[in-house]
Amino acid sequence: MSESKKWFSLDLDLNKKSESSGTCGCGNTQESCGSSHKQEELSAEEFYEAAINASIGDERKKDGFEQVFDVQMDRRDAFKKLTASLLIGAGAVSSCTSVVQGADSKEKAQIDWEEQFKGNYKLMTDDEKKQTVDRLMRSYELRTGKNINMSSKNAEEDVLFGYAFNISKCQGYMNCVTACVEENNQDRKSQMQYIRIHEMKDGKGFNFNEADDNYYHEVPAEGHFYMGTQCFHCDNPPCVDVCPVQATWKEEDGLVVIDYDWCVGCRYCMAACPYDGRRFNWSKPEVPENEINKNQHYLGNRIRKKGVMEKCTFCVQRSRKGKNPACVEACPTGARIFGNLLDPDSTIRWVLENKKVFRLKEDLGTEPKFWYFMD
């Protein structure tokens, strides 16, 4: 793709101009400029409309079965539609007088187009992964004028991530929860949290029904112990099996991940997870611009949208660089241990071999890679 080069041409001046959306290239404000800025803004939607019309036309108004069997299209028709869609794809429908704005919005349209019709991340080649990540970074820059750093780093060889949680150490401080929210750009409005810390009564076993995962008093409380849950990155994950579009899968290093752009939001996986590991975006996630963690991974903490599933990824953006997940780093008591299960010299392996470990609902056969142990 020769075009892709252009997305990286860092011209801060141009971006500043496009940020102050009231002005256009001619230096005047919207009203006096004479160009139709408002329409330009609107045309993003119209653009989609036109694009979709051009590419699938009638089909979109019918569904499923009908769509496949009912479409009659002779070659001429098909050719016409194809040309139209290509023209739109190339950003040929633009009518702004401002060259700068025009170029930007053309590029935006181009990116949106390519993002709209890209494939499932799971099936992408490394090049395609890189391209989509580049597009997303550029698109963020175009929309906000700020840069983010998004990685598409694949799983490393000879690595299988695992986690151990020391029940006798956890004091219920919840530093992990805060660190996770900040690291992973979770929705502040709905106060989404991947990690839950369950306060349980001593002598009652692991009774989740009677446990409180939203306590607010001095901790550790008399006669209680604390147990953290999050996605356990099952080796045999039922959430993956039920996804109708394969938007969620297990990576080579054992991380169970989601392609937020492929997820259709059916929430089957949420129902299938026996551990309450998944969280759904009922509304558009909101993170204040200055709090956004700009070190992102496609499969990890990049900004999600409304109507998609998300969950703990063992901080894929960190763990694939050799770092510990944010929760492990933030825990003041050392209750959280993370590492490479395949490395016999790793500390997590020592824990598994020398402490009495167990997992939740082991009888389900989900094979979580998240063990609990006590001192």
């Binding site: 401080y173 106060q191 939203n214 050799g322 050392g334 010299d345 824990v351």
Partner: protein
């Protein structure tokens, strides 16, 4: 005859099962998988870059070899003999400068330990073991290990305590005094760092689950 055939079939069945299982790289459990695929990690990832800014020393304890943060450089008033130039009782006077006034021991019962259990008034630059041997400040964990042997075992293996940086090798673990104040080693009770008001609302409206 019939029996023999049956046995042959059975053997064939077992062999087929065995192969079909291994060929797909599938294992019956995660522990089988770990055992089959394990090997010491010498891959691309390393914690070296993350550890670059930290002064570390290597220790060998039993079968464990790993790094811990250097300590003496972190103690503001080390070396101690810069002040402790004469015996302790000669320094206890009204006219001399007050020091360590803020240290209160909240560790074990007073019959069990006092200052001199760990500090040697005749050699302030080193710590002192229960049998009166010198222990270097950098290796203060040896002092703790005298009583806290179970924690020591867990720490050596990696079940107790935290890593300095990432999970990737080389292993660098915090030492006892990086998390525990030796004079007051327990963790305080305190308030959780956050409270989810939205969850309360959802549960009141019975929206959540």
């Amino acid at each position: 005859m019939k029996n023999k055939n049956l046995i042959y079939y059975l053997m064939l069945f077992i062999v087929v099962c065995f192969y079909s299982c291994k060929q797909e790289g599938e294992y019956h459990s995660i522990t089988d998988k770990i055992e089959a695929d394990q090997k010491p990690y010498h891959g691309n990832l390393s914690s070296e870059e993350l550890l670059a800014g930290t002064d570390l020393i290597q220790i060998i304890e039993g079968e464990h070899t790993f790094l811990i943060p250097e300590r003496k450089g972190q103690i503001k008033s080390y070396a101690c003999i810069e002040c402790h130039s004469k015996p302790l009782n000669e320094m206890k006077g009204v006219d001399s400068q007050k020091a360590h006034w803020d240290i209160k021991i909240n560790h074990a019962a007073l019959e069990t330990m006092d200052c001199a259990t760990c500090h040697n008034p005749d050699n302030m630059n080193n710590l002192k073991s229960l049998t009166g041997k010198d222990i270097d400040y950098n290796l203060s964990y040896k002092l703790c290990a005298q009583c806290h042997s179970r924690q020591f075992e867990d720490w050596k293996g990696g079940a107790h305590g935290k890593k300095v940086a990432g999970w990737a090798p080389p292993r660098a673990s915090m030492t006892c005094v990086n998390c525990h104040n030796p004079h007051n080693p327990g963790f305080e009770t305190r308030w959780p760092v956050q409270f989810n008001t939205q969850k309360v609302k959802e549960r009141k409206d019975d929206l959540g689950h």
